[in-house]
């Protein structure tokens, strides 16, 4: 699927426990004229339409919204995966949602979003794994690498909860290990 889409870039960020802190530092450090989509998949318990979107919107100069099904993936927007659905990407660059079984005890699962994005965006995808206490995201980063994308893990020393990025690093699937400021600089340069 990736071949004809080599020119489209996208950033998908996954996080679990402790990742909100990282996002609250990351979003204000992003350029306001970024022209790629940024998609955030974090584990959360709350129902769709929770204040998470508002909390992040305050910190960002880019428009922040919760994903609706079949919505186009637009450049310069920050998308938040809704609670209780897996987030998938269609070849025509629209979002799909799915309520299938939890993966790694999680829905949305970061692995599911990373893998689906990798199949569509191939080398155009940068996957970033932030703080968390769960192994979700490691397999997804591996698939991102296999399909030509870039896999980044938050520096565990800077993560609230180091387990999730450390798990990816220990499995040798991360191309880069970065703190939040370095991640921001990387995205700003894409």
């Amino acid at each position: 699927m990736a071949q004809d889409q080599l020119n489209s870039k996208i950033v998908v960020i996954g996080g679990s426990a402790g990742s909100l802190e990282a996002l609250l530092d990351l979003l204000p450090a992003l350029r306001s004229d970024i022209n790629i989509p940024i998609v955030i998949v974090i584990h959360r318990k709350t129902a769709p339409g929770s204040p998470l979107v508002d909390v992040l919107a305050i910190k960002s100069s880019l428009p922040v919204c919760e994903v609706d099904e079949k919505e186009p993936v637009r450049n310069g927007h920050i998308y938040i995966a809704p609670a209780d659905y897996h987030l998938l990407f269609e070849a025509d660059h629209t979002f799909s949602l799915d309520v299938s079984e939890k993966v790694n005890y999680s829905r949305p699962s970061i692995d599911v979003a990373f893998e689906s994005a990798a199949e569509v965006y191939g080398a155009g995808l940068t996957g970033i794994l932030l703080s968390g206490a769960n192994a979700d995201g490691t397999h997804g980063l591996m698939v991102i690498g296999e399909l030509g994308g870039v896999a980044i893990a938050q520096d565990p020393d800077t993560a609230e909860i180091s387990y999730m990025p450390e798990h990816a690093i220990n499995n040798h699937v991360a191309h880069h290990i970065m703190n939040v400021q370095q991640i921001a600089a990387y995205i700003n340069a894409l």
């Binding site: 699927m1 099904e69 998938l88 070849a91 299938s100 893998e115 689906s116 569509v120």
Partner: protein, 272 residues
């Protein structure tokens, strides 16, 4: 490295399935199909896509497994309690004066939602004059739904959902527990009719005051969604209600002007 099928291979399987078994999945959203099929190939340890395709073409039992695995049957009782609260407080009172009520659960899966709705109707003292039609394309889940038997270990969560949706009764009075299962009361089941019905190929079969189709349309592409909206439009009584899943919308439908959305809920009422 695991097998990830291409778009072309996906089309080939779906063409085979349609030509040989008559099930049309060609207008389903592709991303989920990709994922389910990749997963099935991995679980069943096929060494190649070609062998997977051959097995589906030649083995009818395996085709049943395919349908079971690629359609997503995950469901819950009183999923999204706020939605069921709106059903209770806004929708049911609006149709309560009808002498006879028909409700359709399209894509009912194993029936958890159907029993939830029956409980609401019972508490509104409307169940005795209501028939709930519950349909799904997958005959196996329809059989399960009909049995009214669910896992005991889910009841704690369902009971919490029930209370969060505004339920005041003792939730456990609606079922009898036996070993690790529970069976829901005959009184609820008596008002239900179960059948297989494929939203892609089967037509309208009655007129309803309320149609619920939640978390089914997310698996369809936009054109198929429109086709199904048309079917629902035809199957709704004037002033009937249509309820969709939390992230689904009628907004892009050409019929939208004929419907009015309830405040903040994924529920629309037909106005003409």
């Amino acid at each position: 490295m695991e097998i990830l099928i291409t778009d072309k291979q996906l089309d080939e399987v779906l063409e085979d399935v349609f030509a040989i078994y008559g099930y049309d999945f060609k207008s389903y959203a592709k991303a989920s199909m990709h994922r389910r099929i990749n997963r099935l190939i991995a679980i069943d340890k096929f060494p190649s896509f070609a062998e997977f395709r051959y097995r589906i073409r030649t083995d009818k039992d395996y085709f049943h497994r395919f349908v079971e695995e690629i359609t997503v049957n995950v469901t819950e009782m009183f999923r999204d309690p706020a939605f069921f609260n709106a059903l209770r407080t806004e929708v049911l009172p609006a149709i309560a004066t009808k002498p006879f009520i028909r409700v359709w659960h399209a894509g009912c899966s194993t029936g958890e939602e159907v029993y939830s709705t029956a409980i609401l109707l019972k508490e509104a003292n409307m169940l005795h004059k209501t028939l709930i039609y519950a349909t799904d394309l997958n005959p196996d889940v329809v059989e399960k739904a009909k049995s009214g038997i669910f896992q005991l270990d889910r009841m704690k969560q369902y009971s919490e959902n029930y209370i969060a949706s505004g339920g005041k009764a003792d939730f456990s009075s609606y079922y009898t527990a036996k070993y690790d299962r529970v069976i829901f009361n005959e009184e609820l089941k008596k008002r239900m009719i179960f059948a297989t019905h494929n939203l892609v190929s089967d037509g309208s079969f009655n007129e309803f005051q309320l149609i619920l189709c939640r978390n089914v349309l997310i698996y369809f592409d936009k054109d198929l969604q429109q086709k199904v909206f048309d079917l629902f439009d035809k199957s709704l009584d004037s002033l009937g209600f249509l309820a969709l899943g939390t992230k689904e919308t009628l907004r892009f439908s050409p019929f939208i002007h004929r419907f009015r959305q309830l405040d903040k809920m994924k529920i629309w009422r037909k106005i003409s």
